[in-house]
């Protein structure tokens, strides 16, 4: 059995794990990150995309609010290319407690979240589709955060500093010798090969799965999975992040994300973080809440629904309501807790504070290793963000416009060229169109891959590396995966689109009868 060695082994390829591996690599440690699936396939790739100002937590969870506004300012600088400065609003609809506004003002003052009350008319001027019955409005520095660019940016930066990033590598066991975690047994999910990674410290950044990983070292982490459903709507119905002015609840955030906008979210404990089937009542709830913010929302065109699982950490299981669990992160040093050395868990938290979580986790690593190395992630920009220029909605079009018709556009919705697709397929050496989707946003537009996925399959097969069975599997798995997010929201124009796509894939191409 072959083996690898590193100072720090990071488990989990979401924002937390990617943040940890980058931070550790920048501090000069040799590092490896393993993720059982693709990077950003878990919670980070399934959240609404809000870079919090902290306003949401200003009343109920002040320490989370303080962290949010600090990290918001840092990420605008170091991860500028992942942030669209949409701004945010908190608005009181007729359904919201009118007294909450004053609590909000006090909470924002106490936590340092800049919130400026603006006239309702001004809020409606900024967001003409908002319910004209709103009674109060505050402007806050919310923004939209691209989780895929963020995580891949961290991963690339870490690689530039010697890290090895291993997606599709599952941890089968942790090796514990004399109360010390000395490494992990890992399986390459593509080749099936099993091997060991020897490390000085293992950082458990497995999010909602952190409890499962901790068990492998004989430790206990009470992390529960709080499932949240989100729906992407066609068009930017709003151009800034719109929050309800009330205690955090279901379906109270509507924010723009590139050319679409997202409403979120619901919040229920689920026993298994891998079981996130979307129920019709969750979809109905979100559509009804959306209708309160934007009249006509219920029958507007929905594009796709998905669910993510928040890692909700509590020392005990006493909390019945997911909304009552703090959104602050938890650092668990298992040496202090259970006498197990070389093992640190970082969980809880949220994507907005991922960098801070990574910092405290790597500080704990330094402590365990008895070294002092300063964190630099608050200053060092991610690859692509060196100029500190914030992402703009027009950036893809701006890149295409000077050279129109210079090459084929494979995905018209997301303006993805043939060469960009070919390069990405080659670089990732993947046969999964879903992996490509997460990197390029392939098939994330209104037609949800109706046109581009046949083309992408043909291009995937075009080289020598992928034979027809793999190409067919890529296409069929993509369609099956896509349908999981489509079938809960099919009505109106998106049902029309889906039926049209049925005609393309089943009616014209007859993909049900591809050779196995």
């Amino acid at each position: 059995m072959s083996s690898l060695e590193a100072d720090v082994l990071v488990i989990g390829g979401g924002s937390t794990g990617a943040g940890v591996v980058r931070d550790a690599a920048l501090r000069g440690f040799s590092t490896i990150l393993v993720e059982r699936r693709d990077l950003v396939d878990g919670t980070t790739g399934r959240f609404h995309g809000l870079l919090h100002s902290g306003g949401r937590y200003a009343v109920k969870d002040p320490s989370a609010a303080v962290e949010c506004i600090a990290e918001n300012r840092i990420l605008r600088r170091v991860a500028a290319d992942c942030v669209e400065d949409t701004g945010g609003l908190f608005v009181a609809t007729p359904w919201d407690d009118p007294d909450y506004g004053d609590l909000f003002v006090k909470g924002c003052e106490a936590t340092g979240v800049p919130a400026e009350e603006i006239p309702v008319a001004e809020a409606l001027r900024r967001e003409p589709r908002l319910n004209p019955e709103i009674r109060r409005a505050f402007a806050v520095p919310d923004a939209a955060l691209d989780p895929w660019k963020l995580v891949w940016g961290c991963a690339r930066s870490a690689e530039q500093h010697g890290a090895r990033i291993l997606p599709y590598h599952r941890v089968l066991d942790l090796e514990v010798v004399d109360q010390r975690v000395v490494g992990a047994l890992v399986r390459d999910e593509h080749s099936g090969e099993e091997f060991r990674i020897h490390s000085k410290v293992v950082v458990n950044a497995a999010g909602a799965w952190a409890g499962q990983i901790a068990t492998l070292a004989g430790c206990v982490v009470n992390v529960r999975a709080g499932m949240g459903v989100m729906i992407a709507m066609n068009h930017r119905i709003v151009n800034s992040a719109v929050n309800r002015l009330k205690f955090p609840a279901d379906g109270d955030i509507l924010l723009p994300l590139r050319t679409a906008c997202v409403i979120g979210t619901t919040d229920v404990f689920v026993p298994d973080p891998d079981d996130t089937a979307i129920r019709q009542d969750a979809v109905d709830l979100l559509l009804d809440e959306g209708e309160k913010l934007v009249p006509g929302f219920r029958e507007a065109r929905a594009l796709h629904a998905w669910a993510g699982v928040r890692p909700l950490f509590e020392e005990t299981h006493d909390v019945a309501e997911t909304r009552d669990v703090t959104r602050s992160h938890a650092l668990l040093d298992h040496l202090a807790r259970e006498g197990v050395a070389g093992f640190v868990t970082i969980t809880g938290g949220k994507t907005t504070t991922f960098r801070l979580m990574a910092e405290v986790a790597v500080d704990a690593v330094c402590q365990q290793l008895g070294v002092e190395r300063r964190c630099t992630t608050a200053e060092a920009p991610l690859p692509g963000s060196e100029s500190h220029t914030l992402y703009g909605l027009d950036s893809r079009l701006a890149a295409r416009e000077p050279v129109p018709q210079s090459e084929e556009i494979i995905c018209e919705c997301e303006l993805i060229t043939r060469s960009r697709l070919e390069q990405t397929i080659k670089r990732r050496a993947t046969t999964s169109l879903d992996d490509i989707r997460r990197l390029l946003r392939l098939a994330m537009g209104p037609c949800q891959g109706g046109f581009c996925i046949y083309r992408a399959t043909g291009i995937l097969h075009h080289g020598d590396r992928v034979d027809h069975t793999e190409a067919n599997r890529a296409l069929v798995s993509f369609l099956e995966e896509r349908w999981k997010g489509l079938h809960p929201i099919l009505h109106g124009d998106q049902l029309r689109q889906a039926r049209f796509d049925d005609w393309i894939f089943q009616g014209i191409l007859d993909v049900e009868h591809l050779p196995a």
Partner: protein, 427 residues
């Protein structure tokens, strides 16, 4: 002026009904929001390609099983004689496009991803692709036309389940172009019509086609003179040449639409495109006039009969709201086969049977939409094509067959209602 029949929708079903009625002497007007699904579908006529998982060889015999398995299927409203007559009529009427085939045996044509797909009838430009007798095939892609991937097609076809051995290989050519951008099907079709690409293709393929090989091309051989181009290519290459259908927009479908509408205009029918039916007046169970909104005005059309051929969910003839209530969008007819509110409309497996799939307008034996009591909503309103309940045409490969057969049968029902009756069913 009173029309004999007003047809809603300019897809294959509406055009079939209109042409059949016009040639029988009726004054017909077609009112449509736009072109129909002809521009989206391969121009083949697919009567029945699959019964469940089984590929159908003979639609004639498989239809009996289909109708006993699925009693509400649209083919149950068409007699066997009508179905046969509709296909013969279609071939005869569209002689210029050279349709061939019939109900006894499906032909097998490659799809753009390399599956052997069954069709009852195909136009001349596709006939050379029939896979039933096996043989050697060369598929040629045109760089810049991104909706055709010959190497994937050939690789899949070489592994397809076929009655006779097939070998397939691929070749990609770069057509002369000023830029490296997208080459659309329409653009390529126009350049074939002008002869420019025909000459280039013959030169480019010189010495590269092996003996006995048939040459499969993307479906872009021209909008106006594809048949001449095909003959020219076959003569000069000394090989069979054929088109392989792919993603919309469908150039072969446009030819079909252009041929049908030209025949209609010649026969004296009127086409009002970019217009929507927004209301109707009925008296004593009969529609007497229909309101049509077009540009800035709404006009009233008086008519003796109406055929509703506005399509299914894909075309906007049917729609579903966010609470799961379905609506027929022109006359507000009852939509049958819709799961109750709160019941499952779609299941999580993409290829599984979906509860909403067979939803549509239920009709009587004269193809008249029925109310809850089973009787016709209007005595002179008929429905045809994808709007009908009971089929899953994209899975059955039955869409165009249903459109031609029910479009034809709706015309029969209008022309001679008394000659038909409940005895006429295929089953």
């Amino acid at each position: 002026m009173i029309y004999d029949t007003l047809v809603v929708g300019a897809g294959l079903a509406g055009l079939t009904t209109a042409l059949r009625l016009t040639e029988q002497g009726q004054k017909v007007v077609i009112v449509a929001r736009g072109v129909g699904a002809t521009h989206l579908a391969p121009a083949t006529v697919d009567v029945l390609g699959y019964l469940g998982e089984e590929r159908v060889d003979s639609p004639a015999s498989a239809l009996t099983t289909l109708l006993s398995d699925v009693p509400g299927h649209p083919y149950g409203r068409v007699s066997r004689e009508q179905l046969g007559a509709s296909l013969e009529w279609f071939c005869r009427r569209l002689e210029r496009l050279g349709y061939a085939g019939g109900l006894d045996h499906n032909r097998l044509f490659p799809t753009a991803i390399g599956v052997a797909r069954p069709s009852a009838l195909a136009p001349r430009t596709m006939l050379g692709g029939d896979l039933r007798d096996g043989g050697r095939f060369l598929f040629v892609g045109l760089r810049g036309f991104k909706d055709f991937h010959p190497s994937l097609l050939a690789d899949n076809l070489a592994h397809a389940r076929l009655p006779a051995p097939v070998t397939a290989r691929a070749l990609e050519l770069e057509p002369p172009a000023e830029r490296r951008g997208d080459l659309s099907g329409r653009l390529l079709a126009r350049r074939f019509d002008s002869g420019e690409l025909t000459d280039w293709l013959v030169r480019a393929l010189q010495g590269r086609v092996e003996a006995e090989e048939r040459v499969g091309l993307p479906p872009v051989l021209g909008l106006r003179r594809a048949d001449e181009t095909l003959a020219d290519l076959e003569n000069r290459l000394e090989r069979r040449v054929f088109e392989v259908p792919t993603l919309p927009p469908s150039i072969p479908g446009m030819r079909l639409y252009d041929t049908l509408t030209a025949a209609l205009r010649r026969a004296g029918a009127r086409l009002v495109i970019n217009a929507a039916v927004v209301g109707a007046q009925a008296h004593d169970g009969q529609i007497e006039s229909v309101q049509v909104a077009s540009a800035a005005t709404t006009m009233s059309y008086r008519t003796h009969s109406v055929v509703l051929a506005s399509g299914g969910f894909a075309s906007g003839g049917l729609t579903l709201d966010s609470r799961g209530a379905a609506r027929e969008t022109v006359f507000g007819l009852r939509v049958a086969g819709v799961p109750d509110e709160g019941a499952t409309r779609f299941v999580a497996g993409y290829f599984d049977a979906q509860p909403l799939s067979r939803a549509g307008v239920a009709v009587d034996d004269l193809l008249r939409p029925t109310g809850r009591d089973g009787g016709p909503v209007y005595r002179n309103l008929h429905a045809a094509g994808a709007i009908l309940a009971g089929a899953v045409p994209w899975k059955e490969k039955s869409g165009t067959g249903i459109s031609v057969a029910t479009g034809y049968a709706a015309a029969d029902a209008i022309l001679a209602p008394s000659a038909l009756g409940v005895s006429g069913s295929i089953g």
